[in-house]
């Protein structure tokens, strides 16, 4: 009897082990209360003057700019709104296996700069990389939590990649044109937004709950706020960065 019990337990343990894997709880988005977070990220103080970029080593780059191109690490709009800030839910979401959207996120090389300068997408979402310039670029992300790759892309050739894991944010560079810098943020959920030219953002379809919201800026760092979101609510939320 004991022998029976012993061997059966071992066999059972084996079956359990072989079947074990992280269980996805559900697919798609959880049925949300259709709430949203809407607001503005402001810059307070004297906005730093954008620095001119010397692109003279590649005439195909200079040609694309009738007036000289400038750096994009801190871009403040006329109304004091801060562009290229990623606002995202950093805590409070229930454990959930979010499927990536069907639509690809697009990262473009144009005028030997990245458009957008800061891109946010979901893990495993298709990333379509476009070279609209006449010159040849190499696109080279430096991730810590994803695999590093480095691809040459002449004008007009297609290139598609994905990032498997969450990482906020991966610096991207072009080694051929050393001034080219951008960021790609990878999220395991769809609750993120990047501020537009006026510093505005909106996170849509958020289920009710208590969340920590983080605002990330490449040079000015991060800020967090805690917020309670009810059902069907349009909740205002603002951030202010100072320098």
């Amino acid at each position: 009897m004991t022998k029976h019990f012993y061997s059966a337990t071992i066999a059972l343990a084996f079956v359990a082990l072989s079947l074990w894997r992280p269980v996805p709880l559900a697919f798609g988005k959880p049925a949300g209360g259709g709430s949203s977070l809407k607001g503005e990220v402001k810059f307070e103080g004297n906005a730093p003057k954008p620095t001119r970029i010397d692109m003279s080593q590649d005439p195909l780059c200079t040609k694309a700019h009738p007036s000289p191109a400038t750096t994009e690490d801190v871009v403040v709009g006329g109304n004091g709104g801060l562009e290229n800030v990623i606002v995202y839910v950093s805590d409070g979401l229930a454990e959930h296996d979010f499927q990536p959207p069907q639509q690809a996120a697009v990262f473009e090389q144009k005028g030997c700069q990245y458009k957008p300068h800061v891109l946010a997408l979901q893990a495993k979402q298709k990333l379509e990389i476009v070279n609209s310039d006449e010159t040849t670029h190499n696109i080279h992300p430096s991730p810590n939590n994803n695999r590093e790759w480095n691809m040459t892309q002449p004008h007009g050739t297609p290139l598609e990649q994905t990032f498997a894991r969450e990482e906020i944010a991966i610096p991207v560079k072009c080694n051929v044109h050393p001034w080219m810098k951008g960021y790609i943020a990878v999220f395991k959920h769809p609750y993120f937004a990047v501020t537009d030219k006026t510093g505005h953002f909106e996170i849509k379809d958020l289920p009710p709950g208590n969340y920590t919201i983080t605002a990330w800026q490449e040079k000015l760092g991060t800020q967090t706020q805690k917020i309670a979101v009810g059902s069907g609510e349009a909740k205002p939320l603002d951030f202010t960065f100072k320098q």
Binding site: K3, H4, Y6, S7, A8, I10, A11, F14, L17, Q57, D58, T135, T136, H137, N138, I139, H140, S142, R147, E148, W149, N150, M151, T152, Q153, P154, T157, P158, L159, Q161, N175, V176, H177, P178
Partner: protein
């Protein structure tokens, strides 16, 4: 009694299976050789630890005095691969690097070690990163037959050297002094110099034309050297190889050849 025996047998078989699964991740396969990580560890502790460090993170005692820095195995990013950029190398790729050594670095050729010992080292090096358990290596590159070097292929290669912006780093004269050269850094933030093609033919990942072709497909991950996989056709890559060969003068080429005989 009989059923009990059967059940025990099944349980033991299951355990053996589980054990072999975990052992497989501690192995390497090079041709008909099977490398063993446990034996590899003993060899690593004797030969590799001074530079690559006890944790395999490239921070051994000698690392401070070295340029370029020893490889950090915990990142599982390797320059010399037969697999696409962003994928893990094959066991044979790591074996070849250990055997060949890496020119212009502190990494010597380990051909004095037995083939079995080098295979054991590969198995141990792979244990420093969980990536080798979680992911599979990429599909190895297929290298087609090389067309003859002609004046035309060299000319086409020269044009591609321009349009592909190779000159931005390697320089128009191939000396590695292009306008972007001084800004280059590796994935650890250390400055890294582009190859000076006039200095000879001792490329990091092998010296033959096929090695050069493969480098153009895979790129040298962890460095600024990108993959040209979708950027050029196979014929165009051969053209670039033929053009790059023209940078080394016959004198420096002969010197490199002498060196590989191993004085």
């Amino acid at each position: 009694m009989r059923t009990s025996f059967k059940k025990t047998f099944a349980a033991v078989a299951a355990l053996v299976f589980l054990w072999s699964m975990s052992a497989a991740s501690q192995e390497s396969h090079i041709g008909n050789l099977t490398g063993n990580a446990k034996r590899g560890k003993a060899l690593y502790t004797r030969y590799c630890i001074y530079c690559h460090g006890p944790e395999g993170d490239g921070r051994g005692e000698s690392a401070l005095y070295m340029d370029p820095k020893p490889r950090d195995f915990t990142k599982a990013v390797f320059k010399c691969r037969s697999t696409p950029s962003g994928t893990l190398p094959l066991d044979t790729d790591l074996y070849n690097t250990i055997s060949r050594g890496v020119h212009a670095s502190g990494m010597p050729s380990w051909k004095p070690l037995l083939r079995q010992e080098r295979a054991d080292l590969v198995a141990y090096v792979k244990t420093f990163s969980s990536a080798f358990q979680e992911e599979k290596p990429g599909e190895p590159v297929v290298i087609p037959a090389e067309p003859a070097t002609t004046a035309e292929s060299i000319k086409r290669g020269a044009e591609l050297f321009q349009t592909m912006n190779c000159w931005s780093c390697h320089g128009k004269d191939g000396r590695g002094h292009g306008p972007s050269a001084a800004t280059l850094a590796d994935n650890k933030g250390n400055p890294i110099a582009p190859f000076d093609f006039t200095s000879g033919t001792q490329f990091k990942c092998g010296e033959t034309n096929r090695d050069m072709f493969r480098d153009l497909v895979t790129g040298l991950d962890g460095t600024p050297m990108p993959s040209f996989v979708g950027a050029m056709t196979a014929d165009q890559r051969w053209d670039v190889v033929h053009y790059i060969r023209t940078f080394a003068t016959s004198k420096s080429h002969a010197a490199a050849k002498n060196d590989t005989v191993g004085q």
